[in-house]
Every structure is written in structure tokens, then in C-alpha cells.
């Protein structure tokens, strides 16, 4: 009962945050809405027993990635979204498409998962067991992602660094 209540409360916060993300016209509001969504998702993870995932969700996602977003928004001093007439395809085809696809997926998931339920802390994800899994069974993907991160760092540095201004006097 407590589980269901907590789920519903934080699920509602999640959905509210997501809808607020859509409604707000200022990017920083959207970003903070996402932080809220992430924080309440962390609670949902805790409910499912994935405490380590929840902690990492807060530290990495909310604490680092979203700070980066906020930082960039501040850096570029992005203002309120302007109203432009872009593509009608996105509105006419895309949103119905998403809704149709979402409904289909939801239907299938409900059909397939049936009435299975999970209890509070259904699968405790202790750091130790997750570490074992990560460094034994998933060692290769883990290494590959580390390479990916390295590449991403270098790519970001190259992309964001300002190109050296051509200064002939300096060169000579």
C-alpha cells in the first residue's frame, strides 16, 4: 500500500515535470523540470530496489549532465523560445505517429506483462553485485563505453574550442 502510494506520488511528479518541460517556453525551466523528473525517477528506482542506480541517477544525471545543460544555457544566454513556422510534418504526422506508436507499445506491454507485480525493493541492486556483473559479464561493453567516453571528451574539446584566429603577425 505504501509502495503504491509512493509510486503514484512520485509518478505524478514525474509526469507533471515532463508536461511542464513541454509547456515551459524557457529552456532553463525545461531543464529544471527534467531535473525534477530525474529526481523523482530516482525515487522510483529506490522503490524498485535499485538503490545504486538511483544514486548514480542523481549524481551523474541530475548532478553532472543537467548541470552541463544549465551551464550551456547560461553560457549562450538562451532566451524565451521564439515562435517560428517550421515544419508542419512534425505536427501533422509526427505527433499522431508518436501517439499511435505509444498506444501500440503500451497495449503490447500490458498484454505481455500481464498482471505481474513487483514488491517494494523487489530486486536489491547492491553496488557489489552490480560491480561484479559490470566487470565480469559485461566487461567488453564496459571497456567499449570507456573508449566511447574518451572519444566523446576529445570530440567535445575539438568542437567547442574556438578556432585559432589567423594572426600573421603572431606567427612571424
Amino acid at each position: 500500500m505504501l509502495h503504491l502510494v509512493l509510486f503514484l506520488v512520485f509518478g505524478a511528479i514525474c509526469v507533471a515535470g515532463a508536461i511542464n518541460l513541454l509547456v515551459q517556453s524557457h529552456p532553463i525551466s525545461s531543464a529544471l523540470s527534467l531535473v525534477v523528473v530525474m529526481a523523482s525517477l530516482a525515487v522510483e528506482y529506490l522503490l524498485l530496489g535499485a538503490e545504486f542506480v538511483a544514486a548514480v541517477q542523481v549524481i551523474v544525471y541530475a548532478g553532472a549532465v543537467m548541470v552541463l545543460f544549465v551551464f550551456v544555457i547560461m553560457l549562450l544566454n538562451a532566451g524565451v523560445e521564439e515562435r517560428t513556422k517550421g515544419s508542419r510534418v512534425a505536427l501533422i504526422l509526427g505527433i499522431p505517429g508518436v501517439l499511435a506508436g505509444g498506444l501500440l507499445v503500451a497495449w503490447v506491454l500490458i498484454e505481455r506483462t500481464g498482471t505481474a507485480t513487483v514488491g517494494l525493493g523487489a530486486l536489491p541492486g547492491f553496488p557489489k553485485t552490480i560491480g561484479n556483473l559490470l566487470f565480469h559479464d559485461f566487461l567488453l561493453p564496459f571497456e567499449v563505453t570507456s573508449v566511447l567516453v574518451l572519444i566523446a571528451i576529445m570530440g567535445a574539446v575539438v568542437l567547442a574550442s574556438r578556432p585559432e584566429p589567423k594572426n600573421p603577425e603572431k606567427e612571424s
Partner: protein, 650 residues
């Protein structure tokens, strides 16, 4: 097992020289380039001498295996080098004459542009020619065979900015391809029926077969196809047309490739394949007939030529005909003997002609020469030796080899002998014609020069003024070759040369043949051929020194025949009309306009047009707007999900 002689070094050395000059020559000085070329070519010659020195102690035939090349099922081709008496003769001729011509070329080409290119090609040629000579199987020989063709093409077209040189190179290449085609088919037949291309294996298995005396059997076909190849490379009827045009190349090239070495590759190949021909008498007969006809035919054309190098070119064709005649009557050693002496005196003739051309500033027309013996005495003397040698005066080299061929021809069929003697007479005549026109009488080049005729080649000096002698670096090779032209034939006295080669060609055939001819017949034949040579000399003397007005009258009285001879019997024109024109027309109309433009291009163009029309409408989707792309993705994802569910439900 005899110790390895490292035969592979002999061809590789010139290749290294070619690579150095080819890759870095542009940046090297002329001195360095020539030093490199001469060093590596000379090293190959020294290796040849070393091999000759070790020769008596070798167990023959000596084969050196280097490694696998091709292996396919039971069929195997190796990299191997093969040494026997025949190879040794060829090896020494090629490296020796080649080295002399290298030396000569340094002097001759000194003023030319592309100096390094020339020597790179020349060394490359040496590499391929030595590969050909030393090859232990037909395929390796074929590499050399194709390679010398390539080097020949490159060197004929050395002055590639000149249109005639470029097209002469192409002509040589294409005509050679026809011959190569025959050679290649012969190789395929050999692989199919004997499963090997290795000389020793092949010949021993063929030797067990019965001879094909009648009709056209397998070996006869192979022999005939080989003869096609040989005819291409050695300029025999009907594929001789490229050789006269090849004179567009620099004169040392004419001497080295188109007189002394490459063109004799066909003779060498026929001699090397003597086992095959021995089992195919009909093919051998064809070889003899072709050789005999070529000898006569080319000699008659040579009479009317006025270009000094063209005369020598036809003379070369004619002499090659002699060699084939010898091979055709199974007198291989006589043919090889003539090949050797011919390399000496014809190489010398070309080099001397080069010296003459050099002296008169690039002029090649004999009618504008004359009286040159006072200006260029050394050239004159060496050329004299060569002329007497080719005309067959004893004791010059040509006498011995030619006499032996004629004797053996007589023995086989007097008709061959008769044509041979006639040819010898004509040869003597046109060679002395050349000699008299060039060196005697008065110098006729001056008025031409004064009339402002530009020299044919861009020789920087000597275009005007008196002819002058060539530098020593050109004269020394001339002298060495002159000495060889005089004494080179003496090795054949008393059948020593034949005896030396007899392990290759079989003791029996030669020994029996020499004894078949009685001593008196032999002497009679010898006398007749000498008389023919003297007659030729006398006729030339009368016509071109005593009464220079006579030739024109004779020419006028002969009319059409003379015109035919001057125009080389219109063979080039006939070939042009028969083969080239239909081919060009057919290619233009059917292949170019019809197939290429009508089908292939049209298909591509229509495809491209279609693609453009389709994409014209499709690109409306590609608005560049990220959100519209996202919309398409969303719709696509929904469709795929729906499809998967539908498939899953069913």
C-alpha cells in the same frame, strides 16, 4: 650437384640500375646516371664472364631453382634459371654487345633530354633480355619476352613528342602482340597436354613422343604457334612491318634491340624449342620457307631504300630470315652462329651509322652524304669491316656463318640454297651501295644544309659546317666490334662452334649432316657464295661510284616494279586496308557509336535522368528541418511497431 653460380644476379643487376636511374635519375647528374647504368650493365657482363670461366667445370644443363611462383593443382611453375651452351652463347652476346652499346650510348645521347630515362629503359631492357635468355621455363621466358617488347616500345617512342616515333612505338607493340598471342596459345597447349612448362621436363616428355611426319598434329600446331611468336618478335613475314618503323628510336637502341639482341629472341626461342620442332617436321618446313622468303623479300626492299637506317633495318630482317632458314633445316647451331656474328657486325653497322648520322648533324638520307671517309676515318674503317663481314667476304665473320647456313640449306633442299645465294648477292649489292654512297664521291650534305634543311634530330651540334669525327667513347666500342666482326667467325672453323653446341642440339644430327656433304661440294658452294658477294660489290661499284647516273635510268626503265620496291611492295598499305581500316571503322561505328554511346552511355544517362526526376520529387521531404525529420522518424517507428505487432499476432 654443382655449386650455385647465383645466376639470378645477372638479370637483377641491370634491374637495380634501372630502378636507381628510373626513380632518382631526374635528380642525378649525367655523369652519375651513366656511371650507374654502366656499372650495373658491366657487372652483369662480368657475371657472364665468370659463368663462362666456371663453365667447363659445370654439370650441364645447369639449373638453379629460386622458389615457387605459381602452383595450381599438379601444375607448377618455379622461378628457375637454366644454363647450357646455348644460354652461354646468348648470355655473352647479350651482355657483351649490350655493354659496348651502353658505352657508346653515353657519347651518343649526351646532349639529349631524358638522359636518365634512356639509360633506365636500356637497363630495363637488359634485365628482361637476360631473364628471357636465362629462363628455365617457358613462362619465365615469356616474362622476358613481353618485357623486352615493353622496353622496345618505350625506347622506340623515346622521343615521344615526335608523332612518328610515338606511332612507330605503338605499331611495334601491337604487331608484337599478335606474335605474343601465338606464343601464349602455344604455352596453353603445352600446359594442357604436358602439364609443365619446365624445359627439361617438357623436352624429355616430348622426346618420348613419336614424330609427327604428316598433317598438322599437336606438336605441329605448337610449333607453328611458336613460329608465329617468333615471327612477331624477330620480324619475319608477315609480321616484319614494325622493324623498319622502329628505326625512329635512337640509333643505339636500333643497334642493341633491333639488330643485336631482342630481334634474335625468336631465333633463340626456336632453337631452344628444337625438340618440339624436331618432332614436327612440317612446322620446321614452314619455318624454313618463311625464313627463306623473308631473307629474299627484305633484301629486295633494301636495294631501293635511301635512309641509311632503313637499309640496315631491312638488312636485319633479311639476315634474321637467314637464321630462320638455318633453323628450318634443323641447322640450329648454324643459326645461332649467324646470330652471334650478326650481333657483332650488325651492331657495329648500326653504331657506325649512328656515328655517321652524328657526324653529319642528324641527316639520315644517304643521298645527302658522300665522301665522308676523309672526315670520319675511324668510322669509315670500322664500317668497312662490318660491310665486308655482312657481305660474306672471307675471312670476315659473316662469311663463315653464312657459308655454313648455305651449305646446310643446300643439303636440305637446293632451292633454299639458290634463294640464299641470290639474297647474299643482293645483300652484298645494297650494302656496298650504302658504303659507296656514304663514304665515297663528294660530300653532298653541304648544299642541303645551306638550303636551310633542318636536321632531322635535335642534335645540338654539327648541324652546319663540316662533318666531324665522333668522340672516343663512341669510337672504342666501334673498334672492339670491328675486331669481333673480323675474327668473330673464326670460332666456327672446322665445326668447333657446332661441336660446342652439339650437347644441346644433339650430336647425331650435326655430325651426320657435316659428313653428308662431300668436301668438293662444300668448296664449290663456298666459292659460289664468295663470287656472289664479289659480284654484288662490283655492281655497286659500277652503279654508285663509276656511273652514278645509271641507277636512275634503270629505275625509270623498270617503272612499276621499281615503284613497288621503293614503296616496300605496299605491304603497309595492304595491311592498313585489310586489317587496320576495317577495325577502326568497325570500332567507330559499332562499338563507339553503337554500343558505347547507344547502349552503355545511354543506359547510364537514362538511369541518371531517372534518378534525378525521382529525387526531384523526393527531395521535398528533405527540407533540412530537424523537426520534420523527427516527424518522419516517429511515423516510421509507429509503422514498424504496427507491422511487428501484426506479424507477432498472426
Amino acid at each position: 650437384m654443382t655449386p650455385s653460380l647465383h645466376l639470378w644476379l645477372i638479370p637483377i643487376l641491370p634491374l637495380i640500375g634501372a630502378a636507381i636511374n628510373g626513380f632518382f635519375g631526374r635528380r642525378l647528374s649525367r655523369q652519375t646516371v651513366s656511371a650507374v647504368a654502366l656499372t650495373f650493365c658491366g657487372a652483369a657482363f662480368l657475371m657472364g664472364l665468370y659463368v663462362a670461366a666456371r663453365f667447363p667445370s659445370l654439370e650441364l644443363p645447369h639449373a638453379e631453382y629460386l622458389g615457387h611462383w605459381i602452383r595450381s593443382g599438379n601444375f607448377m611453375v618455379n622461378f628457375e634459371f637454366y644454363l647450357d651452351q646455348l644460354t652461354l652463347v646468348m648470355l655473352l652476346v647479350v651482355t657483351g654487345v649490350g655493354f659496348l652499346i651502353h658505352i657508346y650510348s653515353v657519347g651518343y645521347m649526351w646532349e639529349e633530354g631524358g638522359f636518365y630515362r634512356f639509360f633506365s629503359y636500356l637497363n630495363l631492357f637488359m634485365f628482361f633480355m637476360l631473364t628471357l635468355v636465362l629462363a628455365g621455363n617457358y613462362l619465365q621466358m615469356f616474362i622476358g619476352w613481353e618485357g623486352v617488347g615493353l622496353a622496345s616500345y618505350l625506347l622506340i617512342g623515346f622521343w615521344f613528342t615526335k608523332d612518328s616515333a610515338a606511332s612507330a612505338g605503338k605499331k611495334a607493340f601491337i604487331v608484337n602482340r599478335i606474335g605474343d598471342f601465338g606464343f601464349l596459345i602455344a604455352l596453353f597447349l603445352l600446359i594442357k597436354h604436358f602439364g609443365s612448362l619446365n624445359f627439361s621436363q617438357l623436352f624429355s616428355s616430348i622426346a618420348q613422343q613419336p614424330a609427327e611426319t604428316a598433317g598438322v598434329g599437336l606438336l605441329t600446331s605448337i610449333g607453328l604457334l611458336l613460329m608465329v611468336g617468333a615471327a612477331g618478335k624477330s620480324a619475319q613475314i608477315p609480321l616484319y612491318v614494325w622493324l623498319p618503323d622502329a628505326m625512329e628510336g635512337p640509333t643505339p637502341v636500333s643497334a642493341l634491340i633491333h639488330a643485336a639482341t631482342m630481334v634474335t629472341a625468336g631465333v633463340y626461342m626456336v632453337a631452344r624449342s628444337h625438340v618440339i620442332f624436331g618432332h614436327a617436321p612440317n612446322a620446321l618446313t614452314v619455318v624454313a620457307i618463311i625464313g627463306t622468303l623473308t631473307a629474299l623479300f627484305a633484301a629486295t626492299i633494301g636495294i631501293a631504300q635511301t635512309d641509311i637506317k632503313k637499309v640496315l633495318a631491312y638488312s636485319t630482317v633479311s639476315q634474321l630470315g637467314y637464321m630462320f632458314m638455318a633453323c628450318g633445316v634443323a641447322a640450329y647451331s648454324a643459326g645461332i652462329f649467324h646470330l652471334m656474328t650478326h650481333a657483332f657486325f650488325k651492331g657495329l653497322l648500326f653504331l657506325a651509322a649512328g656515328s655517321v648520322i652524328h657526324a653529319v648533324g642528324g641527316e639520315q638520307d644517304m643521298r645527302k652524304m658522300g665522301g665522308l671517309r676523309q672526315y670520319i676515318p675511324w668510322t669509315f674503317m670500322t664500317m668497312t669491316a662490318a660491310t665486308f663481314a655482312i657481305a660474306g667476304f672471307p675471312p670476315f665473320a659473316g662469311f663463315f656463318s653464312k657459308d655454313e647456313i648455305l651449305a646446310r640449306a643446300y643439303e636440305a633442299n637446293p632451292a633454299y640454297w639458290f634463294i640464299g645465294v641470290t639474297t647474299a648477292f643482293i645483300t652484298s649489292f645494297y650494302m656496298f651501295r650504302l658504303w659507296f654512297m656514304t663514304f665515297f664521291g663528294d660530300y653532298r650534305g653541304r648544299e642541303a644544309a645551306e638550303h636551310g634543311h633542318a636536321p632531322a634530330h635535335g642534335h645540338g651540334h654539327g648541324g652546319h659546317g663540316d662533318p666531324h669525327e665522333s668522340p672516343m667513347i663512341m669510337l672504342v666500342p666501334l673498334m672492339i666490334l670491328a675486331v669481333l666482326s673480323v675474327i668473330g667467325g673464326w670460332v666456327g672453323i672446322g665445326g668447333r662452334f657446332e661441336h660446342f653446341l652439339s650437347p644441346v642440339f644433339g650430336e647425331g644430327a650435326t655430325a651426320v649432316a657435316t659428313e653428308a656433304l662431300s668436301r668438293s661440294t662444300e668448296i664449290t658452294l663456298m666459292v659460289i657464295s664468295v663470287v656472289a658477294a664479289v659480284l654484288g660489290f662490283y655492281l655497286a661499284y659500277v652503279l654508285y661510284l663509276k656511273r652514278p647516273e645509271l641507277p636512275q635510268k634503270i629505275a625509270d626503265s623498270l617503272g612499276g616494279l621499281y615503284q613497288a620496291v621503293v614503296n616496300k611492295y605496299y605491304v603497309d598499305e595492304i595491311y592498313g586496308d585489310l586489317f587496320v581500316k576495317p577495325l577502326v571503322d568497325g570500332s567507330t561505328r559499332i562499338l563507339w557509336h553503337g554500343v558505347d554511346q547507344g547502349v552503355i552511355d545511354a543506359a547510364i544517362n537514362d538511369t541518371a535522368d531517372g534518378a534525378r526526376h525521382v529525387s526531384d520529387s523526393a527531395r521535398q521531404m528533405q527540407s533540412g528541418n530537424v523537426r520534420s525529420y523527427a516527424g518522419w522518424v516517429a511515423v516510421g517507428a509507429a509503422v514498424i511497431i504496427a507491422y511487428m505487432i501484426w506479424m507477432g499476432v498472426r
